[in-house]
């Protein structure tokens, strides 16, 4: 992980997988990773992506009304 990453925190692994499919369809690079402990005590996964893609990320999430908890910059 480095400073160019953002992570999208989600409530459910299913939500992360939905976002993964949306991003794949939009050509956005992403990877599902365990939630960093300093961001949440949850035992699930989050979606890691490039922070430079944030404008498109917001657009894709909003257009699909995909549920997510928050976006954090690492």
């Amino acid at each position: 992980m480095n400073a160019s990453h953002a992570v999208i925190l989600v409530d459910s692994t299913s939500h992360a997988l939905r976002i993964e499919k949306l991003f794949q369809a939009s050509g956005l690079a992403c990877k599902l990773i365990p939630v960093p402990r300093h961001l949440s005590s949850d035992c699930g996964v989050c979606v890691r992506c490039n922070s430079t893609d944030l404008p498109l990320i917001h657009q894709v999430l909003d257009d699909a009304r995909a549920p997510y908890h928050s976006i954090e910059i690492l």
Binding site: S12, S14, S41, C43
Partner: protein, 399 residues
């Protein structure tokens, strides 16, 4: 319909003909068993519980199954697909999670005990039930559904097709009625999912309960519920609580979908098979599968009608029913016939009451029940001719 593709045989290893698809479909399409084995051997970690690649891969497969189910049933949001053990599980979730003392429910006299037993249990808790009578061939007049609606009515529950005689119920009209009266429709699609086009939006279905092991041609232990867009899931209480892999810091059940209703490790092995089965259905086309089954059903209905001493139940029209045929042989009890069919002719079917006493009361066969031939997509015309030969022989012996 399946030329050019490997077609599983409807004959067992000892040559018997399988005509019990209304209970559980068999054989399964090409690729279903392989998908199960492949998942078990390569990706069968716990989906949604851990962050490692194998767990994510397992969760990805389960999510893909959600997407395929949503697509098959015209549901816009895969997160509103709730997986469970089977359709009984899904129906129980709606009936016990949505209804409260004082609520009224309208249902039909053709329902399976998957509907009737939860409803009878709820009656003792203050839910009232109107069971609209169907005609002796199992048909339901939608006007009677509308006439049964009361100020406290909250839900209409209907089977899409009878599991006893295949008669279709008018679910689209019931959906229109439900929405006109601002109440909800639960459809039991046990006998139709995968063989009849179902579109939750166009059919105005609020809750669609399905099972994987019948006409979706998946393994047992799979099934679930799809929530329509009108349903506010805050109004549907989960009927079990437990670990979901999410919000683990809380000891209370999460409220978001699908986790709200999916406590405990899912049957991911089964879902791997179901996913392969649905992909096979999509590749074949629901209409093509239905067309083949109509042809089989028509041949069986015409053949049975020509045999003296046979009473056929239901519409007796292949285009107006599923490929499930209920009938009796005059002078032969259904259980005697079943034993003879199995032992002498190698025909595997189900007789009796088929977990649907209400339906048998309606068609006039309670308590003896009837013989049921449940045809499937892998049956052939030769299977039908062999079955007709057997019935002809049994009927001749008692005349």
């Amino acid at each position: 319909m399946m030329s050019g593709l490997p077609v599983p045989s409807s004959r067992t290893k000892d040559g018997a003909i399988y005509l019990d698809n209304a209970a559980t479909s068999w054989p399964k399409p090409p690729g279903v068993a392989a998908a199960i084995v492949q998942f078990l051997e390569q990706s069968a970690a716990n989906p949604g519980r851990s962050g490692h690649r194998m767990s994510v891969e397992a969760a990805r497969m389960v999510y893909q199954a959600r997407e395929e189910i949503a697509s098959l049933f015209g549901a816009p949001d895969p997160l509103r697909v709730i997986f469970g053990q089977n359709i009984t599980d899904a129906i129980n979730l709606v009936l016990h999670g949505f209804l409260h003392p004082g609520d009224h429910v309208v249902t039909s006299s053709m329902e399976h005990n998957a509907v009737m037993r939860p409803l009878r249990a709820l009656e003792s808790k203050g839910v009232s039930v109107t069971c609209v009578p169907c005609s002796p061939d199992g048909r339901l007049d939608p006007q009677q559904i509308e006439d049964a609606i009361q100020p406290k009515t909250r839900l209409i529950v209907l089977t899409h097709a009878s599991n006893v005689c295949g008669t279709m119920l008018p679910i689209r009209l019931a959906g229109e009625i439900a929405h006109r009266h601002q109440i909800y429709l639960l459809v039991d699609a046990a006998q139709t999912a995968g063989v009849f086009p179902i579109h939750m939006e166009q059919d105005s279905i609020d809750f669609l309960a399905f099972t994987g092991h019948k006409s979706l041609y998946g393994p047992t232990g799979t099934g679930g519920l799809v929530l329509g867009t009108r349903v506010d899931h805050e109004l549907l209480a989960p009927i079990r609580q437990g670990g979901t892999g999410s919000r683990s810091e809380h000891e209370t059940q999460p409220g978001f979908l699908p986790d709200r209703y999916e406590s405990g490790t899912p049957n991911s092995v089964g879902l791997a098979g179901l996913l392969a089965a649905i992909r096979w259905i999509s590749s074949m086309g629901v209409e093509a599968i239905r067309s083949h089954e109509v042809n089989l059903c028509n041949r069986l209905l015409v053949g049975l009608a020509e045999i003296p001493g046979i009473t056929i139940y239901g519409t007796q029209s292949a285009s107006q029913q599923t490929a499930t045929i209920g009938f009796n042989i005059r002078g032969v009890s259904p259980s005697t016939a079943a034993l003879q069919l199995d032992e002498e002719f190698g025909i595997l079917c189900r007789v009796g009451l088929h977990c649907a006493p209400a339906a048998h009361h309606t068609i006039g066969t309670f308590p003896e029940g009837c013989i049921r031939f449940g045809l499937g997509v892998f049956n052939t015309m030769d299977d039908i001719d062999q079955a007709l030969f057997a019935i002809r022989q049994i009927a001749r012996e008692v005349q």
